[in-house]
């Protein structure tokens, strides 16, 4: 057995070092850790049951106070607890949907790039068409007509509509790497297609995949929030960051601002952290990443 030829990506240690040298990346990671821990362990941190309506007469629409740091909603539910539990749902939806997208996008791009020829050009034409479909409109159409969908179906459908741009990038990278020496030599050594794809090419296209994953999670969080705000996303009473804000509209926001403000801030902080992380990862992973 001959040792595998060395790959062009920076080692794990280098990536970690570069990331840690980036102060905003460190802050983003720390923030994400805090948010993920708070939401994942929501039952531990949430002061109240997020769905219970303890006192619908005296406990509703209370502004932020020591008892209810984020206030209460029109049904006396504690907004902080709802934000924590909502994050659980929103984050896991975003993570799983992104995972679906990443898997599909990578597979499609890699196959297209590696296959070449007619297969590739057909696959890329299909991709062009898919890329031109406005994602939000199609998702609205799907969820408005199939209005009894569960969170699982929601996740899969969101994931199924989010892989196009990644597969284009992956295909580009695969094309570039296909001709490189270490792939040639692996092929010369008699390695099969699948083996070459999995062992030699995939590790080299990890960069765009990881970056796309980080940015994708942020994007899906925004998408879920938007769809739920429009009333076609995740359905109440189970809170998600989007549907907590669902019922707050124009005139109400002037009086019960906390209902929109806090879940919104949770979304923004999380999405920002993922975006910073995505940017930082790109810089740390890209060999030519000389951007400041």
């Amino acid at each position: 057995m001959i040792a595998e030829p060395s790959h062009a990506i920076p080692s794990r240690g280098t990536i970690a070092r570069r990331l840690l040298a980036n102060r905003s990346a460190v802050a983003a990671i720390a923030l994400l850790l805090v948010i993920v821990i708070l939401c994942a362990a929501a039952p531990l941190f949430a002061p109240y049951d997020p769905i219970a309506q303890p006192d619908i007469i005296r406990g509703k629409d209370l502004p932020p106070s020591a008892l209810h740091p984020f206030g209460t909603d029109g049904y006396s539910r504690d907004v902080l607890s709802r934000v924590l539990y909502g994050g659980r749902l929103s984050l896991s939806v975003a993570l799983v949907a992104t995972l679906v997208s990443i898997t599909l996008g990578t597979a499609y791009g890699a196959v297209a790039g590696y296959a070449g020829g007619i297969v590739e050009s057909v696959m890329m034409r299909i991709l062009d068409a898919l890329l031109s479909i406005p994602r939000l409109l199609v998702l609205i159409a799907i969820f408005a007509t199939w209005n009894d969908l569960h969170a699982k179906a929601f996740v899969i459908i969101v994931g199924l509509t989010g892989w196009y741009s990644l597969s284009r990038i992956v295909r580009g990278e695969v094309l570039a790497i296909k001709g490189e020496e270490f792939v040639m030599s692996a092929r010369a050594l008699g390695a099969g297609r699948t083996r070459i794809l999995l062992r030699h090419i995939l590790p080299n296209v990890l960069t765009p995949i990881i970056v796309a994953a980080a940015l994708g999670v942020g994007h899906v969080i925004l998408l879920e929030a938007g769809l739920s705000y429009l009333g076609v996303g995740l359905q109440p009473p189970t809170p998600s960051w989007g549907n907590i804000i669902q019922d707050v509209s124009a005139t109400q926001v002037a009086t019960v601002w906390w209902l929109a403000f806090f879940p919104g801030m949770a979304i923004i902080l999380t999405v920002m952290a993922f975006n910073v992380l995505g940017d930082a990862l790109r810089e740390a992973l890209e060999p030519r990443g000389m951007r400041t």
């Binding site: 309506q53 619908i56 029109g74 049904y75 124009a250 005139t251 009086t255």
Partner: protein, 557 residues
């Protein structure tokens, strides 16, 4: 607490100015003008009076069309003492009281110039009555046997039997529609006929235009036989979102908004240009169960067809707390399918008491048990789950739905909420494609409407008893109450009828809201009639000194 105190203060002032303004001499009549913009949360369904099922539709049609006679603000529906002539200048009873002759105003003309004739009255009755047209109002005129037109200005109403409500029945449910404008259209196609969306009436306002989803405009009929009304135009601006309607009111884009919510009332306290008028409640709302399978009306509903289940669900809902939470002091828990303002309503009715424990026990005994980890009851594998259809345009009803969803969960019943636009909600309702719906009835001055809304007569297709509740005993009790001649006896008989329907639980009776309306100070009104504030719009006015830009706009066409 402070919010509550503030609200109480608003309510006091509101009651204080309920009397309306008095026109100062001459200023209104001298210079007609003004535009009234009503912010409406719901689009009218159809502007054809026999088929109109929406309150907005009723408001518009009752201004464009005329009643034979108008009920006074006293709301005394017995006999004819408190009625004022309208399209009929006068009337006379037959000696046996089984018929009434109405003499039409000879000057009355339709908006297209054709004179109003007695044959139109007979035609109107035929349209309302004909089962092929499926008018939801048909049960309200059940005691009228026929209408004849011996000459062009005399219409005679013949009754099956004597009752205290004969005159009311002849004049209140129907407005007179023009025979010549309908071109012989009948049955199913009436609803979609062009005339049903562009009415030609004889009222003091004529129809101008309807922009679906945005507005309906009517304008003063300058040549009207009852005199030109003061306001030039009345416009309903339709906002699918109740918040938008409220925004239009406080932004000055609209002058009038009804069904105010408590938060809106407290917000209005800071707006000096808007006054609030409280009218006694002539409205009650409820969760109506569909007793028939929405997919196949021949079968009972698989969950809600069972009286025991409906009673258990009712026990699980804490109505008085819900009403207090959502309406504050603006509503009382509903007693049943009636309102307290009726002298015939006995307030000592036996409600199904709130008791989640009893609800659980009852469901257990009916075979609905919690088996899985999701704590939803099941019977033979079928979950205790149903969908509540709610009009998204009513914030109050949406709020109640969300609270009830939580309370039903406590006893192991799963409620899904389906929010729809008002028009789509009405469609589901009238087509009976729902499990349960968050409904409400704005009642008219007489308790007789219950035949239409909860009696067997309204249960067939086209009727307004959308849940298809039928109970022969209840029908008989209502009939006996309606034909009783003394108030005490009627109250006692109605009590029996109400008790029957409450015990059968075809609905969870929720709130009986007081009607709080907000009016821009510019708009001056006489005292408003409690069951229909719009009936006096012909008398409303804007003094020239207070007019704004839109008041001097002349109507199109």
């Amino acid at each position: 607490m402070r919010q509550l105190a503030a609200l109480a203060a608003i309510l006091l002032t509101a009651i204080a100015c309920e009397g309306g303004n008095k026109p100062s001499l001459g200023d209104a009549a001298a210079t007609p003008g003004g535009t009234l913009v009503i912010a409406s949360a719901g689009e009218p369904d159809v502007l054809f009076p026999p088929l109109t099922a929406t309150i907005t539709g009723r408001q518009i049609t009752e201004l464009v069309y005329d009643h034979l006679a108008d009920l006074g603000n006293s709301l005394n529906t017995v006999g004819d003492a408190d009625f004022k002539p309208h399209l009929a200048k006068s009337w006379a009873w037959s000696p046996d009281s089984l018929s009434i002759q109405f003499h039409l105003d000879p000057a009355a003309k339709w908006h297209d110039g054709v004179p109003v004739r007695a044959s139109d009255v007979a035609f109107t009755y035929a349209i309302y009555k004909d089962t092929a047209n499926a008018s939801p109002l048909a049960p309200l005129i059940a005691d009228i046997d026929s209408v004849t037109a011996p000459d062009s200005l005399t219409a005679v109403f013949w009754f099956n039997k004597r009752s205290p409500l004969q005159f009311f029945e002849a004049t209140n449910p129907m407005v007179i529609i023009p025979e010549h404008a309908l071109h012989g259209i009948r049955g199913q196609t009436l609803r979609t006929a062009p005339f049903a969306r562009a009415p030609i009436g004889s009222g003091r306002y004529r129809f101008v235009e309807w922009n679906p989803g945005s507005s309906v405009e009517i304008a003063a009929d300058r040549a009207n036989y009852l005199g030109r009304p003061n306001l030039n135009r009345v416009i309903w601006t339709i906002a699918p979102d109740p918040n938008v309607a409220f925004t239009r009111l406080i932004g000055g884009e609209a002058d009038f908004l009804e069904q105010l919510t408590p938060p809106e009332l407290s917000q209005l306290a800071t707006h000096n240009d808007i006054r609030v008028v409280l009218l006694p409640g002539l409205e009650y709302n409820f969760i109506q169960f569909n007793l028939r399978d929405p997919k196949n009306a021949a079968r009972p509903h698989d969950v809600l067809g069972d009286r025991g289940v409906r009673r258990a669900l009712t026990m699980a809902v804490d109505r008085s707390r819900i009403v207090q939470s959502v309406y504050d002091s603006l509503a009382a828990p509903a007693l049943g399918p009636t309102v307290r303002a009726y002298p015939t309503t006995d307030t000592t009715l036996q409600e199904i008491p709130y008791s989640p424990d009893d609800a659980r026990r009852l469901l257990d005994s009916l075979g609905w048990r919690v088996t899985g980890a999701d704590s939803i009851r099941r019977r033979n594998g079928h979950p205790l789950e149903f969908t509540l259809t709610v009009p998204g345009s009513s914030k109050n009803r949406v709020n109640m739905a969300v609270i009830i969803q939580d309370q039903l969960k406590q006893v192991g019943a799963k409620l899904n909420i389906d929010k729809l636009d008002y028009a789509a909600f009405i469609t589901r309702e009238t087509q009976r494609k729902f499990d349960a719906m968050m409904g409400g009835w704005h009642v008219d001055a007489s308790p007789a409407g219950i035949r239409q809304t909860w009696g067997s007569a309204g249960a067939r297709a086209g009727g307004s008893n959308y849940g298809s509740y039928t109970n022969a005993a209840f029908d008989a009790q209502v009939d006996s109450a309606l034909s009783s001649m003394t108030l005490d006896d009627r109250r006692a008989r109605f009590k029996r009828a109400y008790q029957t329907i409450i015990d059968d639980a075809p609905a969870i009776w929720l709130a009986e809201p007081k009607s709080a309306v907000a009016i821009n100070h510019r708009i001056h009104t006489p005292a408003l009639r409690p069951d229909s504030w719009w009936s006096s719009i012909g008398e409303w006015w804007v003094p020239p000194a207070e007019r704004i830009a839109r008041d001097s706009v002349n109507p199109r066409r």
